[in-house]
Amino acid sequence: MAEEVILLDTWPSPFGMRVRVALREKGVVFDLREEDLSNKSPLLLKMNPVHKKIPVLIHNGKPVSESLIIVQYIDATWVRQSPLLPSDPYEHARARFWADYVDKKMYSGGRMVWLSTGEAQEVAKKEFIECLKVLEGELGDRAYFGGGRFGYVDVSLIPFYSYFYALEASANFSVAEECPKLVAWAKRCMQRESVAKSLPDQYKLYDHMLERKKIQEQ
């Protein structure tokens, strides 16, 4: 049966990036459709009526929403190539736990750094760096969070690397100085074609974020 795989996405979304990386790791051919969030398509509204958010994966007409749920679905559906989750139940749970940690901390933490100023930004920056250090601690001396293999936690976290430049510029700090092992991990991931193709240029992202900030402040 011919597979139809559509991804509703927006290029700056770290959540969309996760799905792009996962699909490319699996060698899945997909139709990437860029949404305009100020004018959501009827397809998006139909396929994710609850949240009306991207990313949404539509596989043979059936929608799957929420980026980590989509990545797990991709892993369970296209099993032959690049397993993202370990088969050992404990390692599997460990991967789920850390992806959940990334979900709980990175987006909101990064957003606080970006949007706040002065003393509030200093506090946000400290908390954000603390989270990065916790993640760096979990990585340890391994090549990837998945051990020797690029996996689920790597997919969940790597999109946020594209935001580091913007956050560093905004709050005057260096992730490489604070968490050198984490940056080394990120650069290692960027050498994978799936990641390089799925993450936007960090300077382009920074310009885009500045534009959005200007619009929001008007």
């Binding site: 799957v64 797990q72 679905y73 404990y90 789920r96 736990f97 959940d100």
Partner: protein
């Protein structure tokens, strides 16, 4: 001595999910109770340094935290043969179950808690409206089914299993009404069926303990129930 232990609090709805899952799998376990009056135990801080929260499952000393992560771990490790399945096999159905579990926790549970804690009348009204909208989605999911997982309970039933016993108390102490039997007939019926299951019922904490604990948490700071 049980190899499986759970670090719990006596009244936590997140902890009871784990007990239910282990009972469904026919597994024996021991409960290690946190005493909040003494602050967080060394064992808890060591077992879950990232979040410092309960529940934590200790499987032969190895710690797994976050209730939905623990549920999936239990289902993965003890599966096949006669063992009770929590999640469906089909990847699409699994994705659906996970989606609704996340929705139920983010919107129904935390929506209810937010409404319960809101002091300002207008704020409370808005929060209740938002919670009602979320519960409407849940009602649609259970319509025509005995349980969320079908004829028997499963993962999603366990995740929303706080509703029959905890919601009424949150409504009472928060001065609000959410689960109206007329507005949510299917959810109401599900709640009655769910809580009558012996292994579900036997894990429920006494009502008065729950009222005291939730009232205390509500008055101190609006965090997890």
């Amino acid at each position: 001595m049980a190899k499986l232990k759970i670090i719990v609090s006596a009244t936590s709805l997140f902890c009871v999910r784990i007990e239910w899952a282990l009972k469904l799998k026919g597994l024996e376990y021991e409960l290690i109770f946190e005493d909040w009056s003494k602050g967080k135990s060394e064992l808890l801080l060591k077992s879950n340094p990232a979040h410092k929260k309960i529940p934590v499952l200790l499987d032969d000393g190895v710690a797994i935290a976050e209730s939905k992560v623990i549920l999936e771990y239990i289902d993965e490790k003890w599966k096949g043969g006669d063992l009770y399945p929590l999640l469906p096999q089909d990847p699409c159905e699994r994705a659906q179950a996970r989606f609704w579990a996340q929705f139920a926790d983010d919107k129904c549970l935390f929506g209810t808690w937010g409404a319960c804690c809101a002091e300002d009348a207008l704020e409370k009204e808005k929060a209740v409206e938002a919670a009602l909208e979320s519960f409407t989605y849940l009602e649609k999911q259970i319509e025509g089914k005995k349980f969320f997982a079908g004829d028997k309970i499963g993962y999603l039933d366990l995740v929303v299993g706080w509703i029959p016993h905890w919601l009424g108390i949150l409504e009472e102490i928060g001065g609000m009404k959410i689960l109206d039997a007329e507005r949510f007939p299917s959810l109401h019926e599900w709640a009655q069926n769910f809580v009558e299951i012996p292994l579900i019922k036997e894990c429920l904490p006494p009502r008065d303990k729950l009222v005291n604990r939730l009232s205390l948490v509500r008055s101190s700071a609006p965090n997890k129930p």
